[in-house]
């Protein structure tokens, strides 16, 4: 199985022309991902990287049957790109672009929520490193060469931490079912809980590494899900224990955002749910090994 991505996904690329879009589209094609088209407004009808180019996501979906989209459009345009994907009937959208204005993301989430659940697009990111299911599909920017097939799932907010974990597993000869980067932005699409749910029912996943960080409360929600529903081992790490509260943290406006969001407070909450916590980010592989 694997989660979210397999050989069936028909992938389009939004924002393909830039350096990043071009580079990673090539890498996805090399990996074997079924990239079917690119969307570049005004360039519809042409070709790029041997792919047909469409003016709109709508056209691309109609012509190619695409169901998955990966977005590299620059930050001012990424919100619009996500909504365009949702409107066109894309089912899974991975937004690599980060640093999206908060109000744009509020709109994007609201727009997506306006669809019936059965037609609602799943959004990963923004600021996501993408999704890789070794041997099946890459819709992301992972350096795929050290991701080998296996049975450990990885969910990481920060892209490089996910890479680090995968590399440690590689060195320890442990394979990966699926690795997902969900991004560290203030407002994001899919959360830890939703992905734990998927790994929970995925036959090919035996254990999960969850890489959280300071800010937000979703790690705590994930821990509650772990306590109440998870049938598989999960190890977690909360990056930023040593990070000082930001300058703004001393400030009254931060009262509401700060509470429960520091790494220490989070770790406390995770412990209460009996979720195993790794405090040393160099031992992900050896920590997960004992559960396999």
């Amino acid at each position: 199985m694997s989660i979210l991505v397999d050989k069936q996904n028909k992938v389009i690329v939004q924002g393909m022309l830039g350096e990043k879009g071009t580079f990673h589209t090539k890498r996805m094609i090399e990996f074997g991902t079924n990239v079917v088209a690119g969307v570049i407004p005004e360039k519809g009808g042409s070709e790029y990287l041997n792919l047909p180019i469409f003016d709109t996501v709508c056209d691309a979906v109609e012509q190619t049957g695409a169901d998955t989209s990966i977005i590299f459009a620059s930050s001012p345009f990424a919100g619009d790109s996500m909504m365009e994907a949702a409107d066109a009937g894309i089912r899974l959208c991975i937004c690599i672009t980060g640093r999206i204005p908060q109000q744009d993301m509020m709109r994007v989430k609201r727009y997506i929520k306006g669809f019936d659940e059965s037609e609602r697009m799943q959004l990963i990111g923004p600021g996501s490193a993408g999704i890789i299911s070794p041997g099946k599909g890459l819709v992301g920017v992972m350096p795929s060469y050290f991701y080998r097939e296996g049975d450990v799932g990885i969910i990481a907010r920060a892209g490089t931490l996910g890479f680090e974990a995968a590399y440690q597993l590689h060195k320890a000869d442990i394979g990966i079912s699926t690795s997902v980067g969900i991004g560290s932005e203030t407002i994001t699409g899919t959360t830890f809980v939703e992905l734990l749910e998927r790994f929970n029912t995925d036959d090919e996943t035996k254990a999960v590494i969850m890489l959280g960080e300071i800010g937000g409360l979703q790690e705590v929600e994930a821990a509650r899900y772990f306590r109440d529903h998870m049938k598989k081992p999960v190890i977690s790490y909360i990056a930023g224990v040593a990070a000082p509260k930001g300058k703004r943290m001393g400030h009254a406006g931060a009262i509401i955002t700060a509470y429960g969001e520091s790494a220490a407070e989070k770790i406390e909450a995770l412990k209460e749910c009996n979720m195993p916590i790794v405090s040393d980010p160099s031992i992900f592989a050896e920590s997960i090994k004992e559960f396999l």
Binding site: K20, F23, S75, P76, R99, I100, P101, Q102, Q103, D104, M105, M106, K109, R110, V141, M142, P143, Y145, F146, A156, R157, A158, G159, T160, L161, G162, F163, E164, Y167, S184, T186, I187, L211, E213, I214, G215, G216, L217, Y237, A239, G240, V241, A242, A243, P244, K247, R248, G250, H251, A252, G253, A254, I255, I256, T257, S279, D280, P281, S282, I283
Partner: protein, 386 residues
Amino acid sequence: MDIHEYQAKELLSEFGVTVPQGGLAYSPAQAVYRAKGIESENVLVKAQIHSGARTAAGGIVPCSGEDEIRKAADELMGKCLVTRQTGPKGQIVHRLYVEQQMDSVREYYVGFVLDRQMERVVVMASADGGMNIEDRYNQKPESLIRAVIEPAVGMQTFQARWIVFKLGIDKSLLTQMVTTLLGCYRAFRDLDATLVEINPLAVTSDGQLVALDAKMSFDDNALFRRERIANLRDEAQEDPLSRKATERGLNYVRLDGDIGCLVNGAGLALATLDLIQVAGGKPANFLDIGVGAQPDVVNKAINTMLADESVKVILVNIFAGTNRCDWIAEGLVAAIKKFNVSVPVIVRLAGTNAKTGKTILQESGVAVVIAESMRDAAELAVEQVK
């Protein structure tokens, strides 16, 4: 991005919030001149730095008459103010705001902020406004009233009224208070703010509702469409090293310790700080060169790092995913030679072309210590400063 009090007040007044009369001054003479434009005799000379809690730090001086104003302005201008919010290094005062002094009989707190869990803007209000609102909140959290704004429709009048009645504000102030709250919300929304705060929002003895202090912060990622706000940036209030790093396309955060951290990716940066703490050390900073760094970026990064005098050892932790360890190694060797780096450099390279990278370092003749794992690197770095 933060802005000054006087800038926040100017913006908010355009959205219907009442603020005292006032004027900006860059010199004592100008402060005296500004005071002449104010109807009342009593004025406040207020240091404009990107920090609250200025009263306790002596940054707000009540004055009456030309001599007092000149004296206060003279003392404040160029002074380094250390407040509860600035950190020990403080902020230097380059601008003053001369403002009408108001008598307040009651002080409220009003703040607008994004609640990231709910993904909605939240209004907070308290009848205990004024100094040290944080402390009072910690003692009496129930005193803070909250209302959640539905993004599809924006803040509604009934919500503003609800807050007013909850605060127990005198009903004669209802309309003024509703105008103020709705104005703050519109400012938050229309200007891509991340924080709008009025504290204190004072009731004067003649029944006016006036914002005595105001603070606004903005979404850096939205500044591309808020040219006017972007132009309010005061670079003198920013850490010069951070500013330089930003100009060079790097993400630099200054901290209190002595280990300089050169890393790629924010997640790895946080993990590196954690490892240093586990090893018993303290980071001086972290400098994130990003995930797709080219060799010249390493050059810029080392240059930035060396400008920080507190750095006693440099810890390089690179995980090359989309970039290459050999490029990083080449960049490091060149930079260490170019800048004659004298502090110890600990390097951990992993990922793409890590082996080649290490070989380059070993054969370069520059004095670097190569660590095999992140933890080794952190421990080696901490040893160097012990």
